[in-house]
Symmetry: C2
């Protein structure tokens, strides 16, 4: 077995890529990871994995470590709390691809979802069912996909001439537990709403949990829509209406884009922004509002 470290040292290529992702416990990311790892391996690259838990410090350190390990490129799902470490990669000419999120100011190749449209589909569906007071549980405001989905949410309301109520937008952390706690306080808040559009399926599972603990029924008491269509969405207590993203394909195409950058020396970053179109999947978690039906 030849020493690939020595080979990399002289050849200037490590045939290793870095994957920085937020939370492997979320099936969305584990499926993306599967797509990345498998596609990378098919092309002769190994994958170094870092799970940041959406922590900016972990992410910055990960970039440092991956640079020192001479990875040929990095795929990042950024926490977006800061961006200079990523700008640094650009300056150094280290091939970088962003997944799901992007920095408006930075010219980096990325593969994202048409979040505005996806959110719009979700909220339109609720409006068509008769909902007018729709809450939105979402993530930290610095994340591009969070903003875009809020924008889609607003667009759907505007189309239906429903006034936008700031108090119905609730920002929280992106985990099942956070979803549960936020759901609980929303349900107990006394706010007037009949449906919730949740940023992701994983977060929505937490909201399910909160509803169950409080003896509330989905969709009889409240309708619920998620985002991602994780594998378990259709098997939940109430099968979840959601907006599908092709998770494996996102990972796959991220790698393909990265490899194109790596093997094309004259590549100009930021030229390729792949935008995937989402698809609404209607299941049983959405129904007409209780008093409106």
């Amino acid at each position: 077995v030849p020493n690939s470290l020595a080979r990399s040292l002289v050849g200037g290529q490590s045939h290793t890529i870095g994957l920085i992702i937020a939370d492997m416990a979320n099936p969305f990311y584990s499926k993306v990871t599967q797509g990345v790892e498998e596609t990378a391996r098919q092309h002769g690259y190994s994958t170094i994995l870092v799970d940041t838990h959406e922590d900016d410090n972990d992410e910055r350190q990960a970039v440092q470590v991956l640079r020192s390990k001479q990875v040929d490129g990095i795929i990042i799902h950024p926490a977006q709390a800061s961006s200079d470490h990523i700008a640094g990669l650009l300056q150094l000419g280290i091939p970088t691809v962003l997944v799901n999120r992007y920095f408006p100011g930075l010219e980096i190749d990325c593969i994202i979802n048409n979040n505005r449209h996806g959110a719009c589909l979700a909220v339109r569906h609720l409006i068509e069912l008769g909902h007018r007071r729709i809450a939105h549980i979402t993530g930290p405001a610095q994340i591009s996909s969070v903003c875009e989905r809020i924008s889609g949410y607003r667009q759907a309301l505007e189309e239906a001439v429903i006034p936008f109520d700031e108090s119905l937008i609730i920002h929280t952390a992106l985990g099942l537990q956070a979803g549960c706690e936020t759901g609980r306080s929303l349900f107990q808040s006394g706010l007037d709403f009949s449906a919730i559009y949740v940023y992701s399926d994983y977060l929505a599972v937490g909201v399910f949990k909160a509803a169950r603990e409080l003896g509330l029924h989905i969709p009889l008491d409240y309708s619920l829509v998620g985002y991602d269509d994780i594998e378990f969405a259709e098997f939940l207590e109430t099968p979840l209406t959601t907006v599908r993203q092709p998770m494996y394909e996102i990972g796959q195409r991220a790698v393909l884009l990265l490899i194109e950058n790596i093997e094309n020396p004259g590549h100009v970053p930021g030229q390729k922004k792949i935008v995937l179109e989402p698809e609404l999947v209607i299941r049983q978690s959405t129904a007409p509002p209780h008093d409106g039906g």
Copy 2:
């Protein structure tokens, strides 16, 4: 940023470990992976991930690649279709830790679950509810945990003086889709049984799917027990009765064991077999049999 490749070349340590695992789409493995990656990073190691899809060739190749990348150690969740590549690691003195599965003939450190006891708890619970004809959907017979759980299944039957019926043991692949197809053919087989003990929760989700497609109700028509207690088990259509394994901790302790091997030059492999005790978690997928209650 110093070149860690050059440093590794002279220092003989890459501060990188390999993680070979079967299927990242299974939340059991993604949670184990999270434990591995995070713990490794806390101790200054990076993690190269390989997802084998339980494919022996992928696994053998992965070992080769990781060796060439000079990883300091490897954590393997082996497909167990062959073992000489793992025996080779032993001979070369490359620190190796097995998770969840082991080879009776090979002296390797491992971290496993008391599978026999876990399966016994699951089946005993079904027997206590009044079931006597209990099917068992499980994985390929070469896998140690598959054998041990069958053994636990048989033990519980023996304790209750229930005859063992070979035809109620069904071997299949370890995926949600395989679980669905196997469940479907089992339900349509005309075999006499009132409960199913399934090898893993992920597989059990597939059985749920089959039941739903056939209009069968869990637990009214059939009781179902899984294994692992993946995060989604409690949120399924019918919350799943299962046997809990501490997934994150398994990953964490696997790394701790590996690092102990790496940093202890005089280490004799196979001395440390950590056996974790499982715990039965009773939810709503199990109930007394339809005609027996």
